[in-house]
Symmetry: C2
Subunit: 586 residues, 2 copies
Amino acid sequence: MQRPTDETDESYSLNIESGAINISAQTDFGAIHGMETLLQLLEPRSAGYFLPAVHISDAPRFPWRGLMLDPCRHFLPVGNVLRTLDAMAAVKMNVLHLHLSEDQGFRVESKRFPKLTELGSEGKYYTQDDVRQIVRYATDRGIRVVPEFDMPGHTTSWLVGYPELASKPGPYHVEHGTGVFDAALNPTLESNYDFLDAFLGEMSALFPDEYIHIGGDESNGEDWQSNPEIARFMREHKMQSAKELQAYFNSRVQKILAKYHRRMVGWDEVLQPDLPSDVVVQNWHGIEFLIQSARLGHRGILSQPFYLDHHYSAEQMYAADPIPADAHLTPAQEKLILGGEACMWGEQVDYNTVDSRIWPRTAAIAERLWSPASVRDARDMYRRLAVVSLELDSLAVQHISNPERGFRQITGGDPAALRLFASVVQPVDFHERYEEQHTSPLTPMTNVVDFTVPDPLSRLAFADQVATYLQSVKQGAVSERAADRDALEKTFRAWLSAAQVLDTQATNEPRLAAIAKRRKEWAELATSGLEAIEFIESGKPAPLSWVASCTGVMKESAQPQELVDFVILGPMDELFRAASATSDSR
Amino acid sequence: MQRPTDETDESYSLNIESGAINISAQTDFGAIHGMETLLQLLEPRSAGYFLPAVHISDAPRFPWRGLMLDPCRHFLPVGNVLRTLDAMAAVKMNVLHLHLSEDQGFRVESKRFPKLTELGSEGKYYTQDDVRQIVRYATDRGIRVVPEFDMPGHTTSWLVGYPELASKPGPYHVEHGTGVFDAALNPTLESNYDFLDAFLGEMSALFPDEYIHIGGDESNGEDWQSNPEIARFMREHKMQSAKELQAYFNSRVQKILAKYHRRMVGWDEVLQPDLPSDVVVQNWHGIEFLIQSARLGHRGILSQPFYLDHHYSAEQMYAADPIPADAHLTPAQEKLILGGEACMWGEQVDYNTVDSRIWPRTAAIAERLWSPASVRDARDMYRRLAVVSLELDSLAVQHISNPERGFRQITGGDPAALRLFASVVQPVDFHERYEEQHTSPLTPMTNVVDFTVPDPLSRLAFADQVATYLQSVKQGAVSERAADRDALEKTFRAWLSAAQVLDTQATNEPRLAAIAKRRKEWAELATSGLEAIEFIESGKPAPLSWVASCTGVMKESAQPQELVDFVILGPMDELFRAASATSDSR
């Protein structure tokens, strides 16, 4: 089998008719996509499994449909990476971007510079055999592996073993905090380029892909400014700013990469005057920069709207297009936008929880990057997302199993109530969690927040239930309205009774005690919901005192606290509004 | 760290007092046991995690507390083995017996004889690196790894690559069936002993444990009898039977092992006159043979009562003692009984389902082999088994997660009804499944039977519910009786409604269609249960027609079919009896 590149023809056609299935493709990788589609078409019926008669001609819109993993902040064992590749193949993604070095750890073995992992990884890294296994597994699935060695900032872990690379004297230690640190490679030392030449030479022998990512983000220049030798170098070279010095560094690194026939990828910060046009810019500062850089002739990929730790809904990510309709790029400029990458930064996930942050939402991104821009029905996307989620579950992706295990562990084996609670909340976003918890690489990832998932599919189910009821109140038949009311009441009663169970379980479990306010609010929302139904059914608007009390409950429930946010407040609000304005306002 | 042996002192003492935890042990391995106990003592409370103040002095009753895995019939990837070692360590087991060669596959790489796996494994085997990883992982947990190379029978996979070893001309192919096959090494060829010398020499360099298991079971002698050269050899050596020829073979192999400082283990069949006394006999023909062989001075380990594929209850296995009270062995003879081994034969499990057949039941065996014979309260064992089951779940053992995933897959993501069904059944035993299904290495392990578990903990919960109700009918207070009745009625109603859900789901799922009879019987049992309660509450015995109909339902439900057995029939029967004999018979 050949190796996938950014020019691989991934198209395929699939023809299913009575007695014959045909897949045609220009490459093995196209054929693999065809087989994934075939699998998805399998329909179980009572009497067996069936395939529909179809003819499909399919090809991706973008050649770069990536996912970035960050095994630096929390290490991800090889098994995690392999099952992620299985999942990526199922949704036809084709680039695995591995962010392999950081202040918090250096995660790939170098035979040339063994102290990178001996001193910079706390024992957690991929051996070269591991890397070969990952690359082979990816190649077999039509997925490229792009390694990232973030430099000149985010390099503390390099400096633990090799302090001579640094801009300030050591000793350095592996960071256990998170954020932006001052440590940086010294761009003025020729010996550092010798080091990088040897290191990147070794890495290009290990990673066959044409691209190597050099990071380049968040280099704050602090350690450069405080080093008189570096200041002198800048004066001598007439550099006005750390930015210019970084541009110099990048161009040196780019020449080294070129020597090894590798093209450079970097984050937004590498986009500086004189950047060679074959460098790919990974956009995280906002899509306007991506559009702008395409106008300037640079190739780029979109990332920020696909930052998975920000907990955007699948819907929001699905709506983010690398080439927005209003970008008004020429066809040639559009071609410079290679696609996008979902980014799973590792500060707030570990090997157990990471799957539930990536999947199933990333399947929506994968579709955005594969399908025509015109395919954008979010409702239908969610319907299919539920199916894909189960397909990924069958591949042993842990996005369902891990939360389920967490519910069992926290509740001593009686998980139903916590499972229901998890269906009405999601983890707070990255910044809020950091504010509340000061999350670090040492924070246990075994609390309730870790077993809730961003944008749970239950969110839509509840919204539908409320909408359906309110709709049938407006214009439904009597029996239909009664059924819809019963269903909604049943939901609220289930919440109430689960909240009671959790109260009892909390006496034996600190992790349930830690969500005391949310538990109380949940029960209050359920009670108010039942009352709202009563008012609506009575046909008279609820009294102002009740409305005020509901407003209070809603306000409290919307406050950020205990690391989880309710995902049911929108529909609850509609229900309360309907109760306070019954019939007359309609 | 040293290497564990069968003479390692595994004792430890654990002292927890305010402000200090002390673990003392003679060896690292004793200390590891102490830490496992410490972990188990952790108690969650609302305010945090607590440890009780205790002093524990602990040591195992038997030095050989083993688990056998069979990666031959269905291959078990390294990850399975490693998590099994985690689980074994948690329950203080210390021998992993790997059954590495079979008619259906040769599962460990030999550099000396590469065709063993190249042609005899269908690509599924442990590389030598894998073996080293497994041995290291086991050693770190105080677990010995005893490899088994089954010979002279069960050797088809050897003969695919090396037909010159065989008793009949080839060609041979890897078996896809199960059972006892005629293929066997030719014990009359000197060249075969050269082969075994080279092979076992290589394997003893790979597996550091003092013991190597040579199988020796079920060698039927068919291919020997039909080979005139072998017949001549037997005449020349005055051998009357295949048994004697096998004894000759064993003694030759035993000499080879001795050369490599390895002691031999074999199944019952190796126990023949002149067997050297350091050979350990693994008993699977019945404990009477184990007792007898101890009387003859042979060391042995007990296995058959611990055959996990026979689906004995945890209770039954817990009751099986390697030294039964009525064995009347001398203390010296008792010392010859080294312990026992749970055996997980691989015909009817694959890498996904195997955990749920081993755990949690094997924890009961582990306790039998560790604790004094006098510790035998099955009720208390089950209470603790539920806790251990969750501890194993937290170690990512898949005994709960895999069935849960199965429920989701089969029901399209709405698993509650199937989960409840699985709580009232268990997989039929090995022989019955083979009869019904002709299970082979190619049978998919993704049907309902594969997601049910032997001796589910729910079995006892239901039995308790019925017993409690019948007890309170006899002598309970009115309110208590009403509560117990309500609880039991609720259970039956939940069964009824789940059976209905499954009926609906079955229209889209062949695997649910395949349990149509069991689903129907389940609903009938629930209906009859509700009726029984009505009769009991009425104080009048049920009419004979009803009793007859119940008897019919029970008879039907007790029939073997659709690969699962009900585990609720005992308590159901008690309920029906109570209904048909209400009050007067009491």
